[in-house]
């Protein structure tokens, strides 16, 4: 982030050079077309400038051959560019399996970040070099956009749903993080930095900021909100047990089924009646307004990590949350 004037952005991710290759190719291609057209126009206008008012230009109406030529050739070139761009987009769309998953919540006007081991940051994101990092992002209010020019990644961060992006950093250093979707007064101030560290530096940073893993914090919330009174592993359970739920097919009351992913679990917390699991009563209250987006991400981390038999014990003195006790 020097203060001298750069003309080309830094390349700090595996995607950056691929995007730049496509860009430079297109720059060369479109540049030569632009220069070609300009040269033709300048040449024609000078070569055929009016010298003699009485000169009668020929009556040329057009040429089917030329028309087909300059329709077909651009079309073929365009299709080529389309395929190249689409392949690149596709390769940037889904993160590799082994990616480190980090959660991001945007709000007017800051970025709140949670690492899987519980570390939190605001407007700063520490990531290790050389390892794919998958971001799961959501917004608390309006639409924002998580844009890291040095990585050539950008994704709109929407309220009410999760979006994903991923990158693999290649160069240690500090890089701009910009909000690229206009979000109100301080949109231009919704910026931060990405700190790329070597794996050992990153580990040292993690250790110095340890707070207990995200799943552990989610477990605390699971107990705090009394989820366990119904979602218990014993015979009196009034709701499905959540061990090994994540990523499984769930059969619903209306006969359909759904994969229990981030989006579904989030919806089940905020709008439990929306999709009821087959065989259970719609008794769960909504937790809308009770939990923050960050809380939900912690609960998600807990549910993801939950193995069968690890559901916390139910404590008898606790009363189950009911629709009346929780609905605001």
């Amino acid at each position: 982030m020097g203060t001298q004037m750069p003309l080309f952005p830094e390349q700090a991710s595996t995607a950056a050079s691929k995007v730049d290759t496509l860009f430079l190719f297109l720059l060369a291609l479109t540049g030569s077309v632009a220069i070609g057209v300009t040269v033709m126009i300048v040449f024609y206008t000078i070569r055929y400038r009016r010298r003699d008012d009485s000169l009668q230009p020929p009556r040329i109406m057009g040429s089917l051959r030329l028309e087909s030529l300059w329709s077909a050739i651009p079309l073929v070139i365009f299709l080529g560019i389309f395929i190249w761009g689409a392949k690149l987009y596709y390769s940037m769309a889904s993160a590799p399996e082994n990616a480190l998953e980090i959660y991001v919540v945007g709000k007017q006007w800051m970025w709140k970040i949670q690492h899987p081991e519980g570390q939190r940051e605001i407007n700063e994101l520490h990531v290790p070099m050389g390892r794919p990092v998958k971001l799961t992002l959501t917004s608390e209010d309006v639409i924002h956009d998580f844009f890291v020019p040095a990585f050539r990644t950008k994704v709109d961060v929407l309220p009410g749903r999760y979006v994903h992006t991923w990158f693999q950093a290649t160069q240690p250093g500090e890089y701009h993080l910009f909000c690229a979707q206009y979000c109100g007064t301080n949109h231009a101030g919704m910026i931060g930095k990405i700190v790329v560290q070597t794996p050992s530096d990153y580990q040292a940073w993690l250790n110095s900021h340890a707070e207990g893993s995200l799943a552990l914090q989610g477990r605390k919330l699971f107990l705090k909100f009394q989820c366990v009174t119904c979602h218990s592993a014993d015979s009196q359970a009034r709701a499905p047990v959540l061990g090994k739920l994540y990523g499984r097919q769930v059969h619903l009351q209306d006969g359909s089924s759904v994969v229990a992913d981030d989006q579904y679990i989030r919806e089940s917390i905020l709008k439990p009646e929306a999709r009821i699991v087959a065989g259970w009563q719609p008794i769960m209250p909504t937790f809308q307004g009770q939990v923050t987006e960050e809380d939900i991400l912690q609960l998600l981390a807990f549910i993801k990590a939950l193995e069968p038999g690890q559901t916390p014990e139910r404590t008898e003195e606790a009363t189950a949350p009911t629709k009346n006790s929780l609905t605001p």
Binding site: P57, G85, F178, C183, H187
Partner: protein, 551 residues
């Protein structure tokens, strides 16, 4: 017709000095405010859109001045946000969309097809009043606190977070939209019903083809924008969940509907400019246009395919990979007809007899800048690359090349081409050429640095920015001040021409179009004798007079 000219020689002698024309037929405010003459209505529009252009221009000036320093010292963040919103809203909805159809189209369309007026003259006047109400309301909004949503009004920011005049602003846009719908309707019916005898579809001037395509888009797309803003109002007023996810709405629905109008609107804003260029090139190179039917059909196919590419504004907004693929592919298809036009324009110059009067300079500028705008569009449609440049200054530069480098250049070309027809007076050629040059240079200097800024990663709509972007921003502001001078000049010399003595005569460019076969300014009924058309619109190569039209 009675007044055909010798090709190549601007007429000095005029015959109609004492004759009745649309300007001297009646005097007084009432004769203007209650007129149903399309020519007078065209001038009313000219004055109103010019006012709006200067309002939008003032906002642009303040934006560029604020960006001279990285810390945004001129205005506060909120003011800045209101300025770029005002600039976008005014320029798009109150200048670029209406300008060519309502000023030049209104004035020229009946003349170019040999009609006495548009099909519905009173509806035409009503359109102007509706536009005026919309524009007036918009100015009221701007001067009573403004609006800070950007011209895109994305939800849920506009529906719940913004505390500015969102509803009055969208109301103003909806009102102005109805003016567009009526104009489009009027033009479509006029082209179908009021063509002069012998004026078949393939003898229509290409400007008429482009107005026709534009009108179809106006008719079909504008109602969607109106519906969208009604839905936005319902959510904002009564909290009905349509776009806000907290109310079970879907913010992407807003974007889909918005771009379903606003992408075709891009073609509302460029097709008429393409039509103007297609008139001017043949005239100033004394040639038939190359590939008439291909240019005509490319306008139609742009209008049709243009309805199917809106999702290319949403590649990073959360649409599915599958949708992104389809919209990217369709965007490449819609680029083909534009490419066809550029090649045909270039080929028209071949073996011509090219002269460089002001309209031609603007038209050549249009081709150059539009080509750059179109080619950078190819980059934007490439999915993997779009991710990086989306919502940065790269986009800002791209659409200004199309909208300003293209459409405003095209409008200036048309205004200078038809000014003598509209007023009967000729402006100072020297000053006009100078302004064409200044606008071209100023434009390049303003927007070229923005491509670099965008690729470096500077997001749009930023009130402050990191210091390393300053040099390019200063360059851009310097260019904008040159551009500003370029736009003020025509204002001065065009008005001066009205008081000057240089009469243009009926056909100063020795052009073949029907509009030139009647006195300047035209008589109230347009033609003294109904023209009969016997050949295509650009028969500059047929030497003898009267080949084009006869009475």
């Amino acid at each position: 017709m009675t007044t055909l000219t010798t090709p190549y020689r601007p007429q000095a002698k005029v015959t109609e000095t004492t004759a009745e024309n649309y300007l001297n037929v009646a005097y007084g405010v009432k004769s203007w405010l209650l007129t149903t003459d399309h020519k007078r209505i065209g001038l009313l529009y000219l004055m109103s859109v010019t006012v709006m252009f200067f309002v939008g221009g003032v906002a642009a000036t303040l934006i560029r001045l604020n960006l001279l320093t990285p810390h945004g010292q001129l205005v506060t963040a909120d003011t800045y946000n209101k300025l770029f919103s005002a600039h976008g809203i005014v320029m798009v909805f109150f200048f670029l969309v209406p300008v060519v159809p309502t000023v030049l189209g209104n004035f020229m369309l009946p003349l170019m097809i040999g009609a006495r007026d548009l099909a519905f003259p009173r509806l035409n006047l009503a359109s102007w009043y509706i536009y005026l109400v919309g524009a007036f309301l918009m100015l009221l909004v701007l001067f009573s606190g403004g609006v800070d949503t950007g011209w895109t009004f994305y939800t849920p920011f506009s529906s719940k977070a913004s505390h500015t005049n969102v509803l009055p602003a969208v109301t103003a846009i909806v009102i102005a939209g109805f003016s567009s719908i009526f104009t489009g309707l009027n033009f479509v019916v006029t082209v179908h019903r009021l063509r002069a005898p012998g004026l078949t579809w393939f003898r229509l001037p290409l400007f008429v083809w482009s107005l026709y395509s534009t009108s179809i888009i106006m008719l079909l797309a504008t109602p969607v924008l109106a519906m969208l803003f009604v839905l936005l109002a319902i959510e904002r007023l009564w909290g009905v969940g349509i776009f806000d996810p907290a109310l079970d709405g879907d913010p992407l629905l807003f974007q889909h509907l918005f771009w379903f109008y606003s992408h075709p609107a891009v073609y509302i804003m460029i097709l008429p400019g393409m039509g103007i260029v297609s008139e001017i090139l043949p005239c100033f190179s004394r040639k038939n246009i190359f590939g008439y039917q291909f240019i005509a059909f490319s306008s139609i196919s742009i209008a049709v395919i243009g309805f199917l590419v809106w999702g290319h504004h949403m590649f990073v907004a959360g649409e599915s990979v599958y949708a992104a693929l389809v919209f990217s592919l369709l965007s490449y298809l819609v680029a083909v007809p534009s490419a066809i036009k550029v090649f045909n324009w270039t080929a028209t110059l071949y073996k011509g007899s090219v002269s460089f009067q002001t309209p031609m300079l603007f038209a050549l500028g249009f081709i150059g800048l539009f080509t750059i705008g179109g080619l950078t569009g190819l980059m934007l449609a490439a999915l993997g690359l779009n991710i990086h440049v989306h919502d940065t200054y790269f986009i800002v530069a791209h659409f200004h090349f199309i909208m300003v480098g293209g459409m405003v250049m095209g409008y200036m070309a048309g205004l200078h081409y038809w000014w003598p027809k509209m007023t009967g007076k000729m402006y100072s050629e020297w000053w006009a050429r100078l302004s064409a040059l200044i606008i071209f240079v100023g434009f390049i200097l303003t927007f070229m640095p923005q491509f670099i800024l965008g690729y470096l990663g500077m997001p749009r709509r930023y009130h402050v920015y990191p210091a390393e972007f300053q040099v390019l921003n200063v360059l851009s502001t310097a260019g904008a001040s040159i551009l500003g001078v370029g736009y003020l000049l025509p204002f001065a010399y065009l008005i001066a021409s009205l008081f000057g003595r240089t009469r243009s005569g009926p056909n100063p460019w020795a052009a073949t179009g029907l509009e030139w076969q009647t006195p300047s300014p035209p008589p109230p009924q347009n033609f003294l004798v109904t023209p009969h058309v016997t050949c295509g619109p650009y028969e500059y190569a047929l030497s003898s007079e009267g080949d084009h039209a006869s009475s």
